[in-house]
C-alpha cells in the first residue's frame, strides 16, 4: 500500500502542482481488469481533468492584473533610490543636532555648577564676613553688657555651617580666622558663664524680669535644656516657698474654722492652683523662645517639686488625722466581729470626705497638665512621624502615672475604699438594728436609711473623680445590698406569715396549753402570744413592702448614678474604658434589683399559701353544702336568701382589707391576682364534685357572675381569662338539652375559644342529673 501512494506527489509535480493529486495512480489503472472499474476510473479522471481545467482558467485570468502590478513596481524603482538618499541625509542632520545639543547642555551644566560655586563662595564670604561681624559684635556687646545682642551673635555663629568655618581656616587668611574663631569661642564660653551667673543672681534675688531676661538668652546659646531646668529651678523655689507658707498656716488653723475639716484638701488645692498659674503665666515665653514641645520638660521639672510638696502635705495629713491608725482599726474591726474595739463609723465621716476631696483636686490638676502637655506636643509634632508622637505620648503617660502625686493618691484612695466599705456596712447594720415602723406607713425606716447610706457612700466615691474608686464602691454596695441587706429581709420573710382563724383555732389550743405551762412554771400569765401574732403579721407585710421598695430604689439609684457618671465623663475624667467599666458595675447592681423581685415573689407565694389558701379553701368548700339540684321553689328561695356567694364575697372582702391596708398597691395587686387564680382553681374542684339540675345550673351561673363582678372591682388585672374555664362550665350547665352543646362546639364555636377538652365537656355535662349518660356518650365532639 505504501508503494501505491508514493507516486502521487511525483505525478502531481509533473502536472504543474495545480490540482490535488489524482486519486488514481497509473499502476492502479493498469491493474484494473474489469471494464466497469476502467469506466469508473475514466469518469473520475474526466472529472478531475475538468476541475484542473477550471483552475487553470482562473489562474490565467489573473495574469493581466499581476502584470499591471509588476509594471507599477518597475516604475517605483527610481523613486525609492531618491528616498534612500533623503533618509541618509536626514539621519546625518539628526546626529549633528544631537551632538550640538549635548555640547550645549554640558556647557549649561558647567555654567550651573559655576553658578552654585559662586553662590557658595558668596555664602562663604558672607559667612566669613558674618563671622567677623559676630566676633566684633560679640566683643562690643559684651563690653556694653548687651547680652541679648551678644547671644544673637553667638546664635548666628552657632548656626553657621561648621564646614565653612573649617574651610575658612584652611584659606589664605587661615591664621587670622583661626585667631578670630578662638576669640569667638572664648566669647561664647564667657557669655554662657555670664548668663548662668547672672541668672543665678537674679534667681537668688527673686528678680523675675532679670530671670526672664536671661531665660530668653539660653536657647540662643543652644542651651535649651539648661535654660528650662534653671528656670524650673526658679519656679520650683517659688512653689516651695508658697507651699511652706501654706503648710504653716495649716498648722495654725483653729479647729473651729469653717474649712478645718478639709484643710489638707484646701492646702493641696492651693498648691495645685499655684503650679497651674505658673504654667499659665510662663507657657507663652517658653513657647516663643524655646519653641513648641518644650512645655513637657518644664512641667516635668515642676512636677518634681509638686511631688515633694504633696508628700509633705500628705505626711502631715496622715499624721494629723491619724489616717493610718484609723485604717488599721477599721481593718481590725473587719477581721474581728467583736464589738468591743469597733471603731465608730460616724468618726470616719469627715476624713473620708476629705480624702475624696484631695483626690478630686489631684485628678483635676493632673487633667490640667495632661491637656496642656498634649496641646503643646500637638503643635510641635504636627509634622513629626507616628513613632515620635507615640514616644511623646509614652513620656506623658509615664509622667502622669509614675509621679509621686499619683502614687500617693492611689494609696490614700486604696485605704479610703476599705474604710468607706466599713463605714457603709456598719452604718447599714445600725440602720437595720434601729429599724422602726410607724403605723400608717407601708415600709419601715431601714429601707430609706439603707438607701440613703448607700447613696451617700457611692456619691462620696464619685466625688473623688476616680473612676476605679467609684466602681469599687458600686461593687461593694452591690455586695452589701445583695448579700447582707437582702439576707436581713429574707430572714424576716423566713419567719413566715402567721396563720389565722381556723388555723388560729388549732394553734390557739396548743399555744394556750403552752402558755398555761409557762405561766404555771413562772407563776404569771402572759398575753404576749396574741399580740406577737399581730406583730408578726405586720412585720411580714412591711417586709414585703420593703423588698419591693428596695427593688425599685436600686433601679432609681442606677439611673441617678448613670447620669452623674456621664457628667463626670463628659468633663474628660477617666480613661478610655471608663464608660464600659461603669456600665458593667452598674448592670451588676441592676441585677440585684431582680433578686429582690424574686424574693418578693417568693414572699407573696408564701403569703398566698399560708394565709389566703387555708381560709379561702373552706369558704369555697361550703359550696358543696349548698344543693344545686333544685326546683323552682328552692331557686326562688335562694334568690331571697343567698345561700353561698354573698357570704363568700363578704369573707373575701374582709380578708383582703387587712392586706389592702398593709401592702403597697403593686404588691396588693399581685396578691389579689394570686388569690383570683386560687379561687378559680378551687371553685373548679368543688364544682366537679357537685350535681346540678337545670335551675341549679342557672343558680351557679348567677353565683359565678356575682363573683366575677366582685373580683373585677378589686383587681386591676383582667380576671375574665382566669375564669374562662368556669364560665364555659357554667354555659354547659345551663344547656336545655345535651345536643345543644353542638350549637357552641366545633365549627359553631364562633369567637369562643374552648378551654375545655371534649372529655371535660362530657364530665361537666354528666354533672346535670337530668342529662342521660347515653346522650352524652353519643355526642360527637
Amino acid at each position: 500500500m505504501a508503494a501505491a501512494t508514493a507516486p502521487g506527489p511525483r505525478a502531481s509535480g509533473g502536472e504543474g502542482g495545480v490540482c490535488p493529486t489524482s486519486a488514481l495512480s497509473m499502476e492502479r489503472i493498469q491493474s484494473f481488469t474489469d471494464l466497469a472499474d476502467l469506466e469508473a476510473a475514466y469518469s473520475r479522471l474526466c472529472e478531475e481533468e475538468k476541475v484542473v481545467q477550471e483552475e487553470l482558467d482562473a489562474l490565467l485570468e489573473q495574469q493581466s492584473t499581476i502584470e499591471n502590478k509588476m509594471v507599477a513596481l518597475h516604475r517605483m524603482g527610481p523613486n525609492l533610490q531618491l528616498i534612500e538618499g533623503d533618509a541618509q541625509q536626514l539621519a546625518g542632520m539628526i546626529t549633528f543636532t544631537c551632538n550640538l545639543a549635548e555640547n550645549v547642555s554640558s556647557k549649561v551644566r558647567q555654567l550651573d555648577l559655576a553658578k552654585n560655586r559662586l553662590y557658595q563662595a558668596i555664602q562663604r564670604a558672607d559667612d566669613i564676613l558674618d563671622l567677623k561681624f559676630c566676633m566684633d559684635g560679640v566683643q562690643t556687646a559684651l563690653r556694653n553688657e548687651d547680652y541679648e545682642q551678644a547671644a544673637a551673635h553667638i546664635h548666628r555663629y552657632l548656626s553657621l555651617d561648621k564646614s565653612v568655618i573649617e574651610l575658612s581656616r584652611q584659606g589664605k587668611e587661615g591664621g587670622i580666622i583661626d585667631a578670630n574663631l578662638k576669640l569667638l569661642q572664648e566669647a561664647e564660653q564667657r557669655l554662657k558663664a555670664i548668663v548662668t551667673e547672672k541668672f543665678d543672681t537674679a534667681m537668688k534675688q527673686g528678680d523675675l524680669p532679670q530671670v526672664e531676661r536671661f531665660f530668653k538668652i539660653f536657647p540662643l546659646l543652644g542651651l535649651h535644656e539648661e535654660g528650662l531646668s534653671k528656670f524650673s529651678e526658679y519656679l520650683c523655689k517659688q512653689v516651695a516657698n508658697k507651699a511652706e507658707e501654706n503648710l504653716q498656716l495649716v498648722m495654725g488653723t483653729d479647729m473651729s474654722d469653717r474649712r478645718a475639716a478639709v484643710i489638707f484638701a484646701d492646702t493641696l488645692t492651693l498648691l495645685f492652683e499655684g503650679i497651674a498659674r505658673i504654667v499659665e503665666t510662663h507657657q507663652p515665653i517658653v513657647e516663643t523662645y524655646y519653641g513648641p514641645g518644650r512645655l513637657y520638660t518644664l512641667i516635668k521639672h515642676l512636677q518634681v517639686e509638686c511631688d515633694r510638696q504633696v508628700e509633705k502635705v500628705v505626711d502631715k495629713f496622715i499624721k494629723e488625722r491619724d489616717y493610718h491608725r484609723q485604717f488599721q482599726q477599721v481593718q481590725n474591726s473587719m477581721m474581728r466581729s467583736s464589738s468591743a474595739e469597733k471603731i465608730e463609723p460616724r468618726e470616719l465621716d469627715p476624713i473620708l470626705t476629705e480624702v475624696t476631696l484631695m483626690n478630686a483636686r489631684s485628678e483635676l490638676y493632673l487633667r490640667f497638665i495632661k491637656r496642656r502637655i498634649i496641646a503643646d506636643f500637638e503643635v510641635g509634632d504636627s509634622m513629626a512621624s507616628e513613632e515620635v508622637k507615640q514616644e511623646h505620648q509614652k513620656y506623658l503617660d509615664k509622667l502622669l502615672n509614675n509621679c509621686l502625686l499619683s502614687r500617693t493618691m492611689q494609696e490614700l484612695i486604696g485605704y479610703y475604699i476599705t474604710m468607706e466599705e466599713y463605714f457603709m456596712r456598719e452604718t447599714v447594720n445600725k440602720a437595720v438594728a434601729m429599724d422602726s415602723y410607724e403605723k400608717g406607713q407601708l415600709t419601715s425606716s431601714m429601707v430609706d436609711d439603707v438607701f440613703y447610706i448607700v447613696k451617700k457612700c457611692i456619691g462620696r466615691a464619685l466625688s473623688s473623680s476616680s473612676i476605679d474608686c467609684l466602681c469599687a464602691m458600686i461593687n461593694h454596695s452591690t455586695t452589701e445590698l445583695e448579700s447582707d441587706f437582702r439576707e436581713v429581709l429574707y430572714n424576716k420573710l423566713k419567719q413566715g406569715f402567721p396563720a389565722t382563724t381556723f388555723q388560729d383555732f388549732q394553734r390557739g389550743v396548743t399555744s394556750a396549753v403552752n402558755i398555761m405551762h409557762s405561766s404555771l412554771q413562772q407563776g404569771k400569765f402572759d398575753t404576749k402570744g396574741i399580740e406577737s401574732t399581730d406583730e408578726a403579721k405586720q412585720s411580714f407585710l412591711v417586709t414585703l413592702n420593703n423588698v419591693e421598695v428596695c427593688s425599685e430604689n436600686i433601679m432609681t439609684l442606677k439611673k441617678t448614678l448613670e447620669s452623674d457618671c456621664s457628667k463626670l465623663l463628659s468633663q474628660g475624667f477617666g480613661g478610655e474604658q471608663a464608660q464600659a467599666k461603669i456600665d458593667s458595675c452598674l448592670s451588676d447592681m441592676a441585677a440585684v434589683s431582680n433578686k429582690f423581685r424574686d424574693l418578693l415573689q417568693e414572699g407573696l407565694n408564701e403569703l398566698n399559701s399560708t394565709a389566703i389558701k387555708p381560709q379561702v379553701k373552706p369558704w369555697i368548700n361550703l359550696f358543696l353544702s349548698v344543693s344545686h339540684n333544685i326546683e323552682e321553689e328552692e331557686f326562688s328561695d335562694y334568690e331571697a336568701n343567698d345561700p353561698w356567694v354573698q357570704q363568700f364575697i363578704v369573707n373575701l372582702e374582709q380578708q383582703m382589707t387587712e392586706f389592702k391596708a398593709g401592702l403597697s398597691p403593686v404588691i396588693y395587686d399581685t396578691l389579689t391576682g394570686l388569690m383570683t387564680s386560687l379561687i378559680a382553681i378551687e371553685l373548679e374542684k368543688v364544682l366537679l364534685k357537685s350535681t346540678f339540675s337545670r335551675l341549679g345550673g342557672l343558680q351557679f351561673d348567677k353565683e359565678l357572675r356575682s363573683l366575677i363582678a366582685y373580683l373585677t372591682t378589686v383587681t386591676t388585672w383582667t380576671i375574665r381569662d382566669k375564669f374562662a374555664r368556669l364560665s364555659q362550665m357554667a354555659t354547659i350547665l345551663n344547656l336545655e338539652r345535651v345536643t345543644e352543646i353542638l350549637d357552641y362546639w366545633g365549627p359553631n364555636s364562633g369567637p369562643l375559644t374552648w378551654r375545655l377538652t371534649p372529655a371535660e365537656v362530657r364530665q361537666v355535662l354528666a354533672l346535670r342529673i337530668d342529662f342521660r349518660s347515653e346522650d352524652i356518650k353519643r355526642l360527637r365532639l
Binding site: 502615672n401 502614687r407 486604696g414 466599705e421 476616680s466 420573710l493 458593667s584 451588676d588 415573689q601 417568693e602
Partner: protein, 201 residues
Amino acid sequence: MEDYDFLFKIVLIGNAGVGKTCLVRRFTQGLFPPGQGATIGVDFMIKTVEINGEKVKLQIWDTAGQERFRSITQSYYRSANALILTYDITCEESFRCLPEWLREIEQYASNKVITVLVGNKIDLADKREVSQQRAAEFSEAQDMYYLETSAKESDNVEKLFLDLACRLISEARQNTLVNNVSSPLPGEGKSISYLTCCNFN
C-alpha cells in the same frame, strides 16, 4: 441588646509584673506590647468567642498587681465567674505569694468561682525558678486547674481562655438544671424555694 448565649466575668489576679495585662492583650487583641507599664486600678476588655456554635461573651478584668490597688481589685472578686491566678515562672517570689492570694479569694470571691493557676513567661525557660512539678503539686493540693503560658510566644493563651469558657458553660448548664428542679410550682405546695436555693456564707 447584644447577641450572645453566655456572659462570663473573668478576673486576672496575681503579683505585679507577672504578665496579666500581656495575657489579656494577647488573647483579646493578638498583641504583645513590649515595655507594658504597670496597670492602674483595673482594666476592662471584652472578647466574644464561639464554642460549639454558641456565642460566649467574655468580660475580662485585668487588675493591677501592686499592693495599693488591692482594695479596688478585691471589689471585683465577688461578681467573677472565674479567677485567673497568675504567677511568673521566672520569679520565685510571685509563686510564694500564691497562698496569700488564695486567702483573698477565700475571703472575697463567691464560693462557686472557678480558679485557674497560670504560670506565665515560659518563653524565658532558662531563667525558670519555679518547676512545673512544684506548681502542679500546689495546684492539685488546692484543687485548681493549672496551665503554663507564654503571652509573648502566644503559647497556651488561647487554650487557657477557651478551656475556661468551656468549663464555665458546663458549670452554668448544671446550675440551671439544679435550679429548675428545685423551683416549686407557683402557688402550689408548701415548700418555699428561697429557703433552699440561697446559701450565703
